[in-house]
Amino acid sequence: MIPGVDVRKLPLTPTDGYLLTRVNGQATVGDIARETGVWEQEVVESFEKLVQLNVVTFGSVEEAIAAMKKPAPAPLKAAVLSAAYDPAMINEVCDLDTEQRKRVLDLFFALEDNDYYTLLGIAKDADKKGIKKAYYEVALPMHPDKFFRKALGTFKPKMEAVFAKLTLAHDTLLDKEKRVEYDIYLKDVAHTKGMEAMLARAMEEARAAQDALAATVNTPSVMPPPVAPSAPPAAPAPTVDPAVLQARKSALAARLMGGRQRPTTANTGFAPQPVPEVKLQPKVQQSSTEAMDSLRRRYDDRLSSAKDAQVAKYVTAAEGSIAKNDWVAAANAYRVAMDLAPDNTEVHDRARYAQTEANKILAESYQKQAIYDEKNERWTEAAKAWVRVAKLKPEDPNANERAAFTLGKADGDIREAAAYAQAAVNLQPQILKHRITLANLYMAAGKPALARRELEGAAQIAPGDAVVQAMLKRIPK
């Protein structure tokens, strides 16, 4: 925090202020998010504002923000360039030049995964003028009239799709009400993305916490400080910079090996080390065995107390999150705690409960998103969201069926889609809809025999069904 700034005079929201109270020069974005129960995405946004207002400066946090921002949509060019498609498509012969063809493909394949602001290459707070200007610049070269009666091949429908989408973006953002609605939707998406990022990082964090623990306890085990029998249990040491740790380890190894370098990997694990040549004089002379035992005891003590402290920290964070009704953050914190204390059944139970609650919330959130996407014909996005719902609620036949259906619509992985449809059929064998979706997917996958089998199953359930009969007729024998 920069001293001498009068925070009260700044345009801060309550959230900004709350977050600001947690800034202590050490906490990372992740720490603050966990502690406050605010979404990481929002923490980042808030801090960006704070940095701009010159309230705070960041060292590591700034880097953390930069690291977090990397996967987020970058400005137009980068985002568009990152669109993935078969580069051979650019070679299609038509009246467009290579650059134009590239531009069309870049935009076309970026349509699904980018929000309106990114597509138009404008900031979230762009005004009417900025939106119009960007629209003219990006959309007009895509208007089919620019290439009137030219041979455009498969580029023509792509250009029309790009133009229509950009126009929709323009119209949505220029209409006050629609823009508000859209921004809320984006916020929801960011929310779920935030949850997703947390989930993805929970494991990583657990691993990191383990490593940190091991490092904390390991280092002194080879270089024990003078410890009096009455010495207080060591407090959990601050995380040691891995580079420093590595340097220390190498130095020690060099000394032990009499100057010969050795791969440092030998230093890992808890195996008893050769009795170190202790430079500091212990107060009481002990036999080597006694020294070993003492060391080990101390090591275990330190390990468990450090672990306990860590576990306690995460459990507290989790409880804090629960108090704020933020089950997703709670589940994450518990998960880390659970990894640290694999034998603590209480933590396990709580973690499981929090996870169930979190899944419910996530599933709901994704389902909301999926329905909005489906309504707006964004099949790829809808498919992604339904797949999440289906994964979170594997026992929900409708989610499985929708996942299968939208995957099919989005030209997604047919095998995956079929698996979801199969799950839906297994859950509700009597529902025709599931079987028809599955049969359609089999057809799309070029497996008429399987489709036929499914339809014959359907025909047994509903013998007179016209659709099933019609579909059966269409399958070549």
Partner: protein, 607 residues
């Protein structure tokens, strides 16, 4: 590079233009006039006459001279507009084989596109004479408020005339192109286009890089200078009747002379305050003596005769600004187009409404053709940096259960565009759906224009609302509408491209609607509708349960009977709203229902 001409096919006059060496010019006809009357005649000898030459002989050959054919193009025989034209035209209009309109000239029937084709051909010849080379491509303008049937019929006329109509554009848009072309302005403009037969208002944004984006457009395809003429004719006819008790309308030649005189007087009154209408020997009296018509018409009288017409145009302007979500002061320029805007009263009204003096820099008769020429050049010539983003003037959608028009593409949507919506079946075990494609702005389907229809069959037998049908509308850059219906379960698909007029009359549509009732689609119930419906149904059940009790209690009082009747009406309305799946209506009725329920409970509790 091949040249593309721009043709303003007007109700009373037509005009042709071309871009030469980067600047648009109007091509004069052989007589040196820049506009040509949109009139067609057939002489006794069977010779076809078009333009000035047709106009000159109109009085002596009234029955075989067609004017204002544009008011009939793409319309159905039974439409009120055609009925009106039949009553007031000096030429014969009859019903064609497909309930369409035919015009009889020397005992031969012509379709309306054929008549318009003769005018277009004349314009083509004018351009060819001027350029000294054949011309085959054209951009033709139509009123912005023309529907698809009218546009298609205009395109057909071009084809009959041997023209490849590469694009149909809207007249006010064309005017804006001409206004903004080469000026490098960035402005929001309103184009007030009051022509011979139609009124249009369009609001456009002119941006950098030659962008012309239409924001909103509206109009009335049966409101124009012809209506002002008709008011003058009415005034003359009724005056004559008062004096001589003779109805001049009975005589086609007299009618044509009146029409001529009315138009002339109207034009003159834009410049002078008073004019004399003098038609000697207009008709013979019963005793075979010649009667003359001679009257003074003042500008003030003309203004009084047409005040409501002018007010109508201002109302439409207001509506369009609302649609565009713009305030008056956001309009930076007002462009006047069409002969009627020469009338001082109209200029005054427009200036009064927009609180801004209209732009004087464009020629109201030529600006549309110039714009069409500019668009033609921009399409063909890669070097032209100009692009026109137009909108669809009417909403497009399908008819759903209960005569509801379900909009898929709203009015004022930038084209090209495509939209889709999912519907469900409207009755149990329905195996086919009829997709009735419509265009219009009424929520009641049968008040809109029918564009086409098709049937999607082979649908699974299921309870109503179970099967989902996805309907997709697409308008491409050329303005062609295609509609696709897809059974989401089976993947079965049917589609049409709206290309030709269906030739159905309003009555036929009604009959068809009645017959097709069972085959229509229905709105998909959303969760919200479902929740509201359940709430309403619960209230209805409550009320209906209490009915006998309440009836018994309040039977003696007048007040009670009234309350019961009201309650019954509320329940009935709510049930209808539920049947229609009309969320807003259901919500509205829930209020009434809960009030009734409270009242009933109160009555029962008291006793």
């Amino acid at each position: 590079m091949e040249k593309v001409i721009g043709i303003d096919l007007g109700t009373t006059n037509s005009c042709v233009a071309i871009v030469e060496n980067g600047s648009p010019v109007v091509i004069p006809n052989r007589g040196g006039y820049k506009t040509t009357p949109s009139m067609v005649a057939v002489t006794e000898a069977g010779k076809r006459l078009v333009g000035h030459i047709a106009k000159r002989q109109a009085i002596t050959n009234a029955e075989n001279t067609v004017y204002a054919a544009k008011r009939l193009i793409g319309r159905k025989w039974n439409s009120p507009q055609v009925k009106n034209a039949v009553a007031t035209s000096s030429y014969r209009i009859v019903e064609g084989p497909h309930a369409d309109v035919r015009i009889v000239l020397r005992d031969k029937e012509f379709s309306v596109p054929e008549i318009s084709a003769m005018v277009l051909q004349e314009m083509k010849v004018i351009a060819e004479d001027y350029l000294g080379e054949p011309v085959s491509k054209a951009v033709v303008t139509v009123p912005a408020y023309f529907n698809d049937n009218q546009r298609q019929a205009t395109k057909d006329a071009g084809e009959i005339a041997g023209l490849d109509v590469i694009r149909i554009i809207n007249e006010p848009t064309a005017a804006a192109l001409s206004y903004g072309f080469g000026r490098n302005v960035e402005k929001t403009v309103a184009v007030y286009d009051f022509g011979g037969g139609t009124f249009d208002i369009s609001i456009l944004e002119i941006g950098a890089h030659g962008v012309f984006k239409v924001v909103a457009t509206a109009g009335d395809t049966f409101l124009g200078g012809e209506d002002v003429d008709a008011r003058i004719i009415d005034w003359l006819v009724s005056g004559f009747k008062d004096e001589h008790t003779i109805d001049l309308r009975q005589d086609r030649m007299a009618l044509q002379r009146l029409k001529d005189a009315a138009e002339k007087a109207k034009c003159e009154l834009s410049g002078v305050k008073e004019t004399e209408i003098n038609l000697p020997f207009i008709i013979s009296s019963g005793r075979n003596e010649a009667l003359h018509l001679q009257r003074q018409l003042t500008r003030q009288t003309l203004e009084e005769l047409s005040v409501d017409l002018i007010e109508r145009t201002i109302d439409i302007c207001k509506q369009t600004l609302d649609d565009a979500k713009l305030d008056k002061d956001e309009i930076e320029e007002v462009i006047l187009v069409g002969g009627m805007t020469r009338m001082p009263k109209i200029q005054e009204a427009v200036q009064g409404f927009f609180e801004r003096e209209p732009c004087k820099g464009v020629h109201p008769d030529e600006v549309v053709a110039l714009g069409a020429g500019i668009q033609g050049a921009a399409l063909i010539d890669d070097k032209q940096e100009m692009i026109l983003l137009d909108v669809t003037p009417h909403a497009l959608g399908i008819m759903t259960f209960g005569n509801v028009f379900e909009e898929l593409i709203p009015a004022n949507t930038t084209v090209p565009t495509h939209r889709q919506k999912i519907f469900t079946t409207s009755r149990d075990n329905q195996t086919a759906v009829k997709i009735i494609v419509m265009q219009g702005d009424s929520q009641k389907a049968d008040e809109n224009e029918l564009l086409g229809e098709f049937i999607l069959s082979g649908i699974r037998r299921a309870a109503k609302g179970q099967v989902e049908i996805e309907v997709t509308f697409e308008i491409n850059a050329d303005g062609i509408v295609s509609v696709r219906a897809k059974d989401l379960e089976t993947g079965l698909e049917q589609s049409i491209q709206v290309t030709a007029t269906s030739g159905l009359t309003r009555d036929e549509i009604k009959a068809m609607v009645d017959n097709a009732k069972d085959d229509l689609l229905d709105r998909r119930s959303s969760d919200e509708i479902e929740a509201a419906k359940q709430e309403a149904q619960k209230l209805i059940a409550d009320i209906e349960k209490l009915f006998p009790q309440v009836q018994q209690i309040v039977a003696s009082s007048d007040f009670g009977r009234e309350a019961i009747d009201k309650a019954k009406a509320v329940v009935e309305k709510a049930k209808q709203a539920i049947d229609r799946k009309d969320l807003a209506a259901i919500k509205e009725q829930i209020e009434g229902l809960s009030r009734t329920q409270r009242m009933f409970k109160g009555v029962v509790a008291k006793t």
